[in-house]
């Protein structure tokens, strides 16, 4: 049976699109038929992160409004055969999405794919609520930082009240993906620890993605980080997170980024 997964956070810039691409690619590499759907109508970026920006012809809005067939809008990934992308529209705004239209597209995707990964826009408005609307499970992307944790808490509340599953009295599986984590700074007491965030948000941990330059390098060239440098810290963490989504039980390990003494002393400071 197919699974609809929403990648959401409330706050912008925490790594929803990076995580959607990385998890989608990892699930596809595990042999699943996967589509990643960009719900950020007007500010699409998943196409860019996946390196498919020059191949977009039709988009989600065209399909929702019946101007294009689903098969015409889907873009097959060139690196992983079982991975597809449904891009968002760049010229329209989020009002172009209707609840009925989105439901119809999701139902159609369920027939073709094992996993439907919905990349939510930031915020709690129409785009975000429609992205989570038909989800069976959610990945809540959170940075170890006060505003991100607060927004994630708000999103968890919406997942438990505004989704189709919640309204039908069913539960929606929620997983925490802690991104941009710096174990060294957390150990120094400068950054919220994994345990702090877990205790506050009270949802199970899917993975810890270390703060790493590999993420930017991968996005520079338009390749999901799991495919770009599979041995890097973030790629390994995303691959393990994907295996957990598939039901495997793997202990979450603490990513320790190896840094030279010099960069530890004189490295950039993050305000």
């Amino acid at each position: 049976m197919s699974k609809v997964l929403v990648v959401t956070s409330g706050k912008g810039g925490v790594g929803k699109t990076t995580s959607s691409a990385a998890l989608g690619a990892a699930l596809a590499q595990a042999g699943k038929n996967v589509v990643v759907v960009d719900f950020d109508v007007g500010l699409r970026n998943l196409d860019l992160i996946m390196g498919a920006e020059r191949r977009v012809v039709f988009d989600l809005v065209n399909v929702v409004q019946g101007d294009a067939k689903l098969a015409q809008a889907l873009i097959r990934d060139k690196r992983v055969e079982t991975l597809s992308l449904l891009p968002a529209s760049q010229t329209r705004d989020k009002d172009a999405l209707t609840p009925e239209g989105v439901e119809r597209v999701i139902d159609e995707l369920r027939e073709k794919f094992d996993w439907i990964v919905c990349d939510s826009p930031a915020g709690i408005e129409r785009g975000a609520t429609l992205a989570m609307r038909h989800a069976d499970m959610a990945v809540v992307v959170t940075n170890p930082e006060v505003s991100s944790v607060r927004d994630s808490d708000r999103i968890i509340g919406l997942l438990d009240s505004k989704t189709a599953r919640a309204e039908a009295g069913e539960t929606i599986e929620k997983h925490l993906l802690l991104t941009r984590y710096d174990a060294t700074r957390a150990a120094r007491g400068e950054m919220l620890k994994v345990e702090d965030v877990l205790e506050i948000l009270a949802i199970p941990l899917l993975g810890i993605i270390p703060d790493s330059e590999d993420v930017l390098k991968a996005s520079n060239v338009g390749c999901p980080v799991t495919l770009h440098n599979p041995l890097s810290g973030p790629a390994r963490a995303y691959a393990e997170a994907a295996r957990r989504l598939l039901g495997e039980t793997i202990a979450v390990t603490m990513p320790v980024e190896k840094k030279s003494l010099m960069s530890r002393w004189f490295g950039r400071s993050v305000a």
Partner: protein
């Protein structure tokens, strides 16, 4: 981080954790309901306005939260006795 900072570390994460725990306890209690302070302010002002003409511009509302208690302070400037209705 400068070399100087390396020797004078301040552990700010525990502060973040405590602030979040306090804030979220309140926000979760309010979720789904509209802003209690706003409702109280409206209703209290309506009651007072029945008897006294009040200038909305001169109403000061202060909400403060500390641990387990919240305080709502509504400061209404009463016009000179002339404004008494009825």
């Amino acid at each position: 981080m400068s070399i100087f900072g390396f020797f004078t570390r301040t552990r700010t994460a525990p502060v973040a954790r405590e602030r979040l725990q306090l804030l979220l306890a309140h926000e979760r209690a309010l979720s789904g309901k509209s802003d209690l302070a706003a409702i109280l302010q409206e209703e209290i002002l309506a009651v007072i306005a029945k008897h006294i003409a009040i200038d909305r511009e001169k109403v000061k509302v202060k909400l403060d939260r500390d641990g387990t208690i919240s305080t709502l302070e509504i400061d209404i400037e009463m016009p000179e006795a002339v404004a008494l209705k009825n």
